[in-house]
Amino acid sequence: MLNTILLTLAKSIDYDVLSSAKNKELETNEKWGLAEESEYFANKVKLYRQDKLNADEFRRFRLQNGAYGSRLNSEFSMIRIKVPGGDITPTQLEKVASLSESFSIGSAHVSTRQNIQLHWVQLEDVSEVFRGLAEVGLTSREACGNTIRNVMCSHFAGVCPNEPFDTTPYAKAIARFFLRNPICQNLPRKFKFNFSCCPEHGYVRIADVGLVPTVRDGVRGFRVYLGGGLGAASFIGHLLEEFTPDSRLLSTSIATIRLYDRLGNRENLARNRMRYLVSEIGWEKFQGLLLKERILVEATISIPTRKSYDGFLNTGDLNNTSISSTSTKSKITLPVINSNSGDTPYTRWLNTNVVAQKQSGYYSVYITLGAGDITSSQLRIFAECIREFSLEKKARTTPQQNFLVRYIKADQLPKVFQKLSGNGLGNPGANTIVSTVGCSGTTSCNLAITNSHRLAKEIQSKFLELNVDLDKDFVDSSIKISGCPNSCGQHEVATIGFYGGATRIGTSMVPIYTMLFAGSTGENGELGKAIMRVPAKKVLDVVLKIFEYFKKERTGNEKLNEWIYKISNGNGSGEIKNVDDMKKLLLPIIELPAFSTAPDFYKDYGTDTNFVAKTARGECAA
């Protein structure tokens, strides 16, 4: 009888039916993660908990592996998943979704440096997240700490109508070469590479090494900018030389890192980024030392080292989807897909979230997130969407905390919109001021003073409510908010930027933002100028007032960013000629009512208790 029971077991079942990811694509992304690092981390946590590893030593190890301490609570970590070049596959996104659901808060967060962060993970579970990441080739190794951070690359690289060549393989080869490389495991401080696709797109002037691709006499190369960066004191990077051929990219990078490693300030925590070194010894001296260093590197670089880099570059090139089609030199305008245009949700989305690629007939689609946040279920829908509609079957994270899906055919766009909008992912406004950037702020960061994250979301939803995305005057403008002066929200490269602080008004502490004007990105990027301080709960009013003055004062078809730039340089016409005029007009707006009559104005967003500026020791930024 037992036999019969056991041998008549039901016919085998097709378990794939239950799997959401059947018909998975071949994994096209490089493998960055190592499974053994997960186990190693788990053991270190045990030793730390048993007091066999001191707190400082453990902290250094934890950061090296990409787990950052959470705000005022050492039980929890933020895991920063590196996304080299911003390039990520559906399978990887699905894994992030399930890891967030299991071990984090069920949402993931796209950072301004193209990472994806999981917050409030129990320290003891961090190794499990690492294990899962390694399964799909991802890693958070060297995402924090004094290392080479995520290598950024313009999300348009490969599809940008104005690019001389696709820089993605270079970005990935550099990332691969320096990941776990002994020469950069203990730098004076973190170190950042940013690649652009063209002079317009990319954050090349605010990185330690910023690279703009260019071709000279048929040779690929870069304009290399060094020593830029945002922070308590920010600098714009310097151009190393007119042309750096791609064959010298590796030696230039190694030389820069070696020089910084040798001369960088290891004493003063506040001045140990490379930009301070450049500023202290002067650009010309730094440049001279660097060019000499590069000769030395080139003379001594070993053949295996060189070959391993070339190998990475070639793999990257092969992995890189080149969906051939005729390139068009001029910018393409979108065909009208829905003839009864106007302001239907679809046309609104089409106007601000869909961009024509250099490959004719193909489009790139932005997914507008709220300050970079996306739920696990949305990530899964998004992953399906990529599989179904993108020919390259990958997506890119963007520094505006959004996603970009590329290689979509025109006739698929309505379906893409339908799928996205049915799941809260179809908001318009990606390339306008609506897509507000906000770092994580007091939601999870030790350094934060204000809730910049929530403020960014509040502004975005207000703008959507006011249909700001419909107004072409706000295209190419941006609002970026940091919760402290450290610039993870990149407030200094926004049309209107804000960074959080605290002040006393009367007898009450108040969350307050310093407002900056006229920052910009790209090869000609400039840093914004501080204008005035605005209490947190008055930021929206002030911004809307600026819009009002802009409409009244601008000349011709001037866009907001152009007008702001003019004002900040004292070239305004009419009532507002310069920053001082603007300040005078805004001062009445920022006046707070008495605490006793309106206590809410003295509190920060997302909290019903009185404001207190609480911070703890920082561990790393971005």
């Binding site: 009888m1 037992l2 029971i5 056991l6 041998l7 008549t8 077991l9 039901a10 085998s12 079942i13 097709d14 378990y15 039916v17 239950l18 799997s19 959401s20 788990a42 045990k46 908990r49 959470s70 705000r71 005022l72 609570n73 399930s98 659901e101 299991s102 071990f103 984090s104 808060i105 069920g106 949402s107 967060h109 917050h119 409030w120 129990q122 003891e124 579970d125 190794s127 499990e128 997130l369 709220g370 946040d373 996306i374 739920t375 949305q378 994580s440 702020g441 007091t442 939601t443 999870s444 809730n451 994250h453 929530r454 979301k457 920060d604 967003y605 997302g606 909290t607 208790t609 609480k614």
Partner: protein, 306 residues
């Protein structure tokens, strides 16, 4: 294996071993878990989690009472073949031991009936019912490894007719070793060998929790296709957390012990022998005005994209 029953005693042990090996191989193919240790044939047992194949076989052989704990109207739209309906709300409306025994009797479950319970809520509702059955002394009760939704997706046997079974008389033997109340929690708070586990999601835990409790969200426990991960994985999670198999663990959640019921079964399958459920959970704890730990130094709710 656990599928041994009194009526199928084999004389030759070697034959039995062969069969076992075959079953094991089969179980592997369909990624099943190995459950409770083999019991002596005289005390058959079906512990913690029942895999799909085992349940189908048991249904075919009419050796199991399947209990559907979804809402009645869901049950009427379709349920696993032979299943009887017991909406969770019905059990919760009156969950003193005598009432639970009454429920068992009405479902035709006697002391040695094997019971397999399922829901459509990732096993949490089923767990709460299964725990209650264990609490009043029913030994052979297990959760179905998948939800009803997955069972249906797999195209397995369902039916619409309402199943009624003739009333029986179940004995009562309350197992206080798996039960905790507020007073018990209070005493456990400062005992390092006793670990209090909060099964709610992370943000709820951060907002407020029982002092000295640790958070293992129920979302950590399931895998893509099953209500619980495999035991080795769960065991590793506990090891990571520094939890020893010999520790006593008390689980609680928000209000009625469903999420923590799932945690109860997860910890059992991970091999922890002493697990207790605080069925009245945090809702009662708060209503009694007991102390809470709150974390107000961060605006973590604003990170959620919900």
């Amino acid at each position: 294996m656990r599928c041994l029953s009194k009526s199928i005693k084999r004389k030759k042990n070697d034959v039995k071993a062969k069969v076992k090996a075959k079953v094991k191989a089969k179980a592997k193919i369909v990624t099943k878990r190995v459950k409770a240790k083999a019991n002596p044939p005289s005390t058959p047992s079906l512990n913690f989690v029942c895999d799909i194949d085992t349940l189908r076989t048991l249904i075919k052989k009419n050796r199991v009472r399947v209990v559907d704990v979804r809402k009645r109207d869901e049950y009427l739209k379709g349920h696993i073949k032979t299943a009887a309906s017991l909406p969770l709300a019905e059990l919760l409306s009156n969950d003193d031991p005598e009432s639970i025994i009454n429920i068992l009797n009405n479902l035709g479950i006697s002391d040695d009936t094997w019971v397999v319970i399922y829901d459509d809520t990732f096993g949490a509702l089923a767990s709460r019912v299964a725990w209650s059955f264990k609490f009043v002394g029913h030994r052979n009760v297990a959760l179905l490894e998948v939800t009803y939704d997955n069972w249906k997706k797999l195209g397995l046997e369902i039916e619409r007719k309402s199943n009624k079974y003739s009333k029986v008389s179940h004995s009562i033997d309350i197992d206080y070793s798996i039960f905790a109340d507020a007073e018990y929690i209070e005493n456990a708070q400062n005992d390092k060998n006793k670990i209090i586990i909060d099964s709610r999601e992370r943000l709820n835990f951060l907002t407020e929790h029982i002092p000295n409790s640790k958070n293992i969200p129920y979302t950590m426990l399931r895998s893509e296709n099953s209500i619980l991960r495999n035991p080795s994985e769960l065991k590793r999670f506990m090891e990571n957390r520094g939890i020893d198999l010999n520790n006593e663990i008390i689980t609680y959640c928000g209000s009625v012990g469903t999420l923590s019921g799932l945690a109860f079964f997860a910890l059992k399958t991970a091999g922890i022998s002493n697990v207790k459920l605080y069925p009245k959970s945090f809702k009662e704890w708060k209503s009694l005005g007991k102390p809470k730990t709150e974390f107000k130094d961060a605006n973590y709710w604003d990170l959620s994209a919900e």
